[in-house]
Structures are given as C-alpha cells and as structure tokens.
Symmetry: C2
Subunit: 259 residues, 2 copies
C-alpha cells in the first residue's frame, strides 16, 4: 500500500467550477491521485441534506486537466461523497478534502455548511476528512496564501490518520501568507446568527422574506476558532458526529421519566 | 410568568399536513398555548439546510381548529424555526417540539434528519427543544401509543428546562402503549447507512441514480438508542451542537503543525 500514491477525493459546496475547488485540486495533485466529485450548482448552507425524493445524475467532465477524473453531480455535497464512494471509486480513498469554501465555516457555521457536511459524511464512511474554508465570500478570493498550509495539514493527516469519529474543520483568515501566524487547534466558539429577515413584497403584493442576519460571538475564550481567526491564526477544530451530550446523561437519569 | 400558559412552537419535516404533526398538536394543546410553523411540503433528510439563495413564504392556514395559530412555510424545517422566532412570535417560546416524525431518527439519522435539525436550531436560539420520531414510515402510522409519553417528556422539560446547549432526540418503537417498557436515556449508537444506489436509465438512455441503502448497527452497547428501541423502550438521547471533539484536542496538539 505504501508504494501506491494516496487516493484523494475532492468535493465542495460552491460547485465544481468554484475557484476554491480549483485551488484545492492544484494542491492535492502534488500529494496523490485525485478525483473530483462536486455539485453542478452552488449548494451552500445545505447542511447534511441528502436527496431521497429525487433522482441523481453524475456527469463526467474535464476542467483543469484531462489527467484528473472529474464528475459533476446534481445533488448535495453529501450526495457527492456517497456517490463517489459507492459508484465511482474502486477503493476507499485515503483522504477526502472539501472546499476551499468561499466564506468562513467557523463556530456554529459548521452545522449549516455543505462543505463541512461533505467532510463529516466522509468521516462517517471511515475516510479521514478535512473541510477547508477561507474567510472571504468573494468568487475571486485569493486562495494562494492558503496553499502551503493546506499541503502541510493534508500531509499530516495522510501520515497520521485522524482519531476515530473525527474530521477537521480548517478555517483561514483573509491574509497574505506572511501575515498568517500559524495553525492552532481550537474548540468551536459558542457563537450564533441573530436573524434579521428582510421582508419584501412581490410585484403582486404578496409578502416574502430573505434570510439575513448578523453573526454574534459572545464566547471570549482564547481557545476558540473565532479567537484564533481574529488573531491571524488558522483554526483547526476537530469535529465529531457522535452528537451525544455524554456529560448530561448522569443528570438526566435523575429525572422522573418512568413514574 | 408562572401564571401564563407556556408558549409551545411546533414544527416538523414531513409537512404541515402530516398526521404525526397533528398528533403532536393534540398533545401540546393540553400543555400550553401552541403555534405551528411547518413546511408546506415534505422536507425529510434536509438536515440543517437553510434557504439563503431563494425567497421564503409564510401562509397563515387553518387545520385542526381556528383557535390554533398555524403557518405553512416554503422553506426547510430550520427556516421554519427561524421565521417563527423572528417574524411571528411576540415572545421566545418556552418549548419547541418537532415531529412526530414518520420514521426513526435514532443513531446517525440525527444528522440527516430535518425533524432533529429543527429542534437543534431551536436549541441554538436558546429554546428548550425536543424532536419526536416513531419507527414507522407509514403515513397512516398509529401515533396514539406515543401520546401519554410525549406529554410526560414535554412536561418534564417545561418543568426542568434542559442543560445548556442540549436538545432531546426521542424515538418510539412501533408498539402498543402496553408493550412499551418505559423511557431510557441513551447515547447515539455507532451505526450508519451502507449505500446501495439503484442505477437506472431514463427513457432517453441516460444513467441516473436513486439513493437507497441498508442501516447497519455494529454497536453492541446496551446504553445506545438502538438497543433501547430493539428492547421495546423509548430512547431519549441528549444531543449537542458543540461538535468539538474535545477529547482529541490534547492529542492533536502534539502534532507538528507549525514546523
């Protein structure tokens, strides 16, 4: 096995043509044999949605190079991972990377993020997985400063694997490479979105809403991803998909459930 | 405040007309003032998806009784909670209940489930929240046996609140009330779906896929939700939305991230 180049599955939620995905392809091509299976349209904020009531299509496409196997998929980021593993790949990949997302997926955003849900799905399937995001929503964001760090992080994971049941949520500050202070292992900050729906009227006079909102971080901990990013570090949060709040079970067992 | 009836927000992912939601409405009407905000179409397996690239509509509707305020929403279960809290309700609800889902949301299904994502969203907004699911996908499933237990569980949560950052994932076995052995606090079983895509051809000869699969539980623990359900108990899993794998941080800090 060690003689074989690692097999790396690449996906995202911004769609197969997104510059962030192209940047990730260019880094991963240095590390192994790569295959891209990504949504054919933007799928941001799709969370862990899967397509159960509709059909799925895969299209073989050619983007950066004919040497790279690429597919676009009509489904969600999680569908992409499931189809790649079950219908396209001949063997289990050694690594799944998702992104680079155009925009942050730090703190509570991990729950809404299609990028991170794809990485989590790979984790559920037993594949070491990493989601990468840059704090810049611009389609023409500069991904160059992230590349050496992504190569480092992916290499470490290929070398060491990841703890059982854990994937990595990696976020980059929007900075030049020389201004990035380094990589920090963090916990997810206790932050959330305060919604402010934008209520409008259709030309016919019917009310409708746009979801808008403001991100509010009330967590002052210096061990959080938000702190790291504000202080020019790359944040790495180990993310688990066992959602059990184990620390509360003893207390909940004292309740009078069966009386 | 104690003189006021509790305000209870009800939602689901099977849509506002689903019999499971109607059963939940009938139980909650005994406990407080209720308001229903639920999707206008089935939204199963939508996970924590939110609608950011499209508009949202709310329609005031009347179902079981004109005395109950009900809205259908064009978005996902998570959108329903956000719209209810920010655009409809005058005060923060004392409880949010989601379901009763037609089908199990035990173990890893918590991640794909729109029912549970709605409850999690309420939890993020600081509202005590519970997702209820019955292990029966049938539209005409018998929800009667669940009602006394749902009343009990919701009453306990209204009385005690829930630990910070935790919502409950409650699953019912498909049994008559007399055959249910009681309520057990559990952890999420380490189980997953093994996909088997059903590959077909369109009338024009193009390949397409249906997501199918088999649920596989290799977790033999007697403290899991799967064990409880198999042994005729109602499973209650405390679910958290801090996804940080805190137990791995020390180990990850020994890696050579910054060399």
């Amino acid at each position: 096995m060690k003689n074989q180049r690692p097999l790396i599955l690449i996906t995202n939620d911004d769609g197969v043509s997104a510059p962030g995905l192209r940047a990730l392809v260019s880094v991963m091509a240095e590390l192994g044999e790569i295959i891209v299976v990504a949504p054919d349209s933007p799928q941001s904020a799709m969370g862990h949605a899967i397509t159960t009531n509709s059909t799925l299509y895969l299209n073989k496409i050619s983007k950066d190079s004919d040497a790279i196997l690429e597919y676009s998929c009509s489904g969600t980021p999680v569908d992409c991972v499931k189809l790649a593993v079950n219908e396209i790949l001949k063997r289990k990949p050694d690594l799944c990377v998702s992104g680079i997302n155009h925009g942050s997926n730090s703190s509570i955003n991990v729950i809404y993020s299609g990028t991170m849900s794809a990485a989590v799905e790979a984790g559920i399937e037993g594949i070491p997985a990493i989601g990468f995001s840059l704090m810049d929503f611009d389609w023409n964001a500069n991904f160059e400063p992230t590349k050496s760090f992504i190569k480092k992080i992916a290499s470490e994971v290929l070398e060491n694997g990841l703890p059982d049941g854990v994937v990595l949520n990696v976020n980059f500050p929007k900075l030049e490479e020389k201004d990035i202070k380094g990589i920090r292992i963090c916990r997810q900050a206790k932050a959330r979105w305060m919604e402010k729906f934008d209520k409008r009227k259709t030309p016919q006079g019917r009310d409708y809403y746009w979801l808008a909102g403001e991100f509010v971080n009330q967590d002052k901990g210096e061990d959080t991803d938000e702190w790291a990013l504000e202080h020019n570090y790359i944040s790495v949060v180990p993310v688990q998909f066992d959602l059990t709040a184990h620390h509360t079970i003893q207390n909940l067992n004292t309740w009078k459930w069966n009386e």
